[in-house]
């Protein structure tokens, strides 16, 4: 009995289709201005890949900021719970999840069953999120996807101390004017994110295994900077951006089983 999970975030919409214990299809598209449409389209794409029709799916769970907007039949669960379940499904020994998404960052403490014990989220500020990195990539005229590798070559990261995205952007421009290399500036940006995320995550108990999810987990520079800050290894799953959608489909599977 196939089930699906759809995660409509601020920047991207993701869908995962599961059959039994296996993920059989997934999709990822930009959310754009219409989160309802993005959710539907992400679900359709994943179903198409799985070779299924919507009527053949037993249960769908929607999550992410766009979960309330979806027009298909779905249960709604917050992405905190979904990220916890998705992380647990992939790595059952995970006890801390750090999710850095497009517009928010969060740290979640979970138990041995993937249940949320505690969580913290960023306040109303985009610093330390995917959007922050996008703004910085634009300011430096580099590709977002190149930032991670680029920063690994830095010997002396530039200091970026502002906690505001707009002010940090001006700070980056000042560093360029002072003659700092792009490599050092990008490394400095990653350190700034790591400091901010660490200060937030330290409010909850940090247990042995940290799993990092969300789009920013694809940036190896941020991952390394966080490892340095936490003095621990950080595990990044194969598809960090799909963790919420995967968790949603795991919950959908339970709902479908319970309904039988």
């Amino acid at each position: 009995m196939p089930v699906a999970g759809v995660d409509i975030g601020s920047l991207t919409a993701k869908a995962v289709v599961m059959d039994g214990n296996e993920m059989i299809a997934r999709s990822l598209i930009p959310t754009g201005h219409n989160s309802r449409e993005a959710g539907r389209r992400a679900l359709e794409l994943a179903l198409e890949e799985a070779g299924l029709k919507e009527s053949e799916v037993d249960a769908v769970v929607a999550t992410g900021y766009g979960r309330l907007a979806v027009d298909f039949e779905a249960e709604r669960v917050t992405e905190i719970t979904c990220h916890a379940r998705g992380a647990h499904f992939m790595h059952p020994d995970t006890r801390t999840v750090i999710d850095l998404g497009g517009q928010d960052s969060k740290a979640i403490a979970i138990d041995e069953r993937g249940k949320v014990l505690d969580f913290v989220m960023n306040d109303k500020c985009s610093a330390g999120t995917g959007r922050f990195l996008e703004v910085m990539a634009h300011a430096l005229e580099i590709e977002l996807d190149d930032m991670g590798e680029l920063s690994l070559g830095s010997k002396s990261p530039a200091s970026i101390s502002s906690v505001c995205t707009v002010f940090a952007e001006s700070e980056v421009v000042s560093r360029v004017a002072e003659g700092a290399s792009k490599v050092d500036i990008v490394a400095g940006i990653h350190q700034a994110i790591a400091s901010r995320v660490y200060a937030m995550a330290a409010r909850i108990p940090i247990e042995t295994k940290i799993l990092m999810t969300g789009g920013v987990a694809r940036n190896i520079g941020v991952v390394r900077a966080l490892e340095a800050k936490f003095s621990r290894e950080i595990c990044v799953p194969e598809m960090p951006q799909h963790t919420g959608a995967l968790g949603a489909s795991v919950i959908a599977r339970e709902k479908a089983a319970a309904a039988v």
Binding site: Y65, L68, E75, R76, V77, T78, E79, I80, T81, D104, K115, V116, L117, D118, F119, M121, D123, K124, R203
Partner: protein
């Protein structure tokens, strides 16, 4: 969590109409009186002295809450900001100053102009500077009642210091009104104040029942009379009515939240502009806010055999004038008494004394009780710093984890 529950509304309280009538009559009298002097007073101030001297108390903070609920506070605050007041200043102060200058607010034409001011710093230090500003702007005298902060235990000296100021306040009021203070009349007022406070405590206590007939969102609305007019007979009558209705609900097994599953305690001033949406959000997730640290602030003990000393004592011991360890004891007491499953804390950008220490309190409550705590960031009246989607996310995730 399903979306369909969002249309659930909280069970309506019949006494609400009487409360609104009481508050309307109060504001009409304050706006139209030609005989009684008007005194602006802080929310933690000793209003009994004003009532005993036939002075009409007017509360900028109550008005600030009304402006917040009516969603007009940001506009008033902007006027204050244009004058140079920082956006980091308390939004009650900004809305009040803006409202005074624009002669605008939640009641037509804004609050009636004060003849004098009574400021008690038991709730924060901001009120001192705020009232000094009002004193200059309106060119009226101000009385400052200084209540020493309680770090560990309240000393005899502190009580005596505040009691002496009560006597000075009497002199100030005699001078301002040209009338003589009557101890007999004051004792009558104190008696009614005690009666109203006892009834209010009784109302709050009904929320110990399962299901609770009352939520803190109701308490936030129904606290207006106990804050503004305690010491008057109408307030006593009103809380008798409200308490009766709540007791009847208990007898009939009626809960404020239709299907109460979770019981939570609220900390800090309400988010006035989001009360309805938050009330519905919690209710649709089967969660009832059964108690709070805010409305219990007006459930103080006053002893009738020595009203002056016990008032000095009570006004010094309010929640915002005590050390964090004592706050924690009170929070733990509420959690236990009301059998709460968790704690929801509003980190209020406006109110620093209330919000400072919340992360420590949250951690300590979880350690001592094993119950989780949620912190949401907002402001009591300045909706410009509120993100509904973020708050919904946190509240729902918190309830999912209970």
């Amino acid at each position: 969590m399903s979306d369909e529950g969002d249309n659930l509304s909280l069970t309506q309280i019949k006494a609400t109409d009487q409360m609104k009538q009481l508050m309307v009559e109060y504001y009409i009298e304050a706006k139209t009186t030609t005989e009684k002097p008007i005194c602006w007073i802080t929310s933690g101030g000793p209003v009994e002295f004003l009532i005993a001297m036939d002075v009409i108390p007017v509360y900028p903070e109550n008005h600030g809450a009304m402006c917040g609920a009516a969603k007009i506070a940001p506009g008033l605050a902007e006027t204050a900001e244009e004058m140079g007041f920082s956006r980091d200043l308390c939004s009650y102060a900004r809305a009040d100053i803006g409202g005074a200058v624009k002669q605008d607010g939640a009641i037509p034409g804004g609050l009636p102009k004060p003849d004098f001011l009574l400021c008690c710093n038991n709730i924060c230090g901001t009120v001192t500077k705020w009232y000094e500003e009002l004193s200059r702007y309106f060119d009226v005298p101000m009385f400052l009642m200084d209540t020493p902060f309680i770090h560990t235990t309240k000393t005899k000296h502190a009580t005596e210091y505040v009691r002496q100021q009560c006597l000075e306040l009497v002199g100030f009021l005699e001078k301002q009104t040209g009338r003589e203070f009557s101890l007999e009349k004051f004792a009558e007022v104190a008696l009614r104040s005690v009666a109203a406070v006892e009834l209010w405590k009784g109302v709050l206590k009904t929320a110990e029942s399962r299901p609770s007939p009352f939520t803190c969102f109701d308490a936030f609305i129904h606290m207006a009379p106990i804050v503004t007019l305690r010491g008057t007979q109408q307030v006593v009558d009103y809380y008798e009515l409200l308490k009766g209705e709540m007791e009847q609900r208990i007898a009939d097994g009626i809960g404020a939240v239709p299907e109460e599953k979770y019981r939570l305690v609220w900390d800090n001033i309400p988010i006035w502009y989001a009360m309805r949406s938050l009330g519905n959000l919690f209710a649709s997730n089967q969660a009832c806010l059964v108690a709070d640290t805010y409305t219990t602030a007006w459930a103080v003990d006053i002893k009738i055999d020595d009203p002056l000393t016990s008032m000095a004592d009570a006004y010094t011991k309010v929640y915002l004038n005590i050390a964090i360890d004592i706050m924690l004891d009170q929070l733990l007491g509420l959690m236990e008494k009301y059998q709460a499953d968790g704690l929801v804390m509003h980190s209020n950008r406006s109110c620093k004394p209330y919000s400072l220490g919340q992360y420590d309190l949250a951690r300590a409550v979880t350690e001592r009780t094993g119950k989780p705590a949620l912190i949401i960031e907002a402001d009591m009246t300045d909706s410009r710093v509120y993100s509904e989607a973020q708050v919904r996310e946190r509240v729902e995730a918190f309830i999912e984890s209970l």
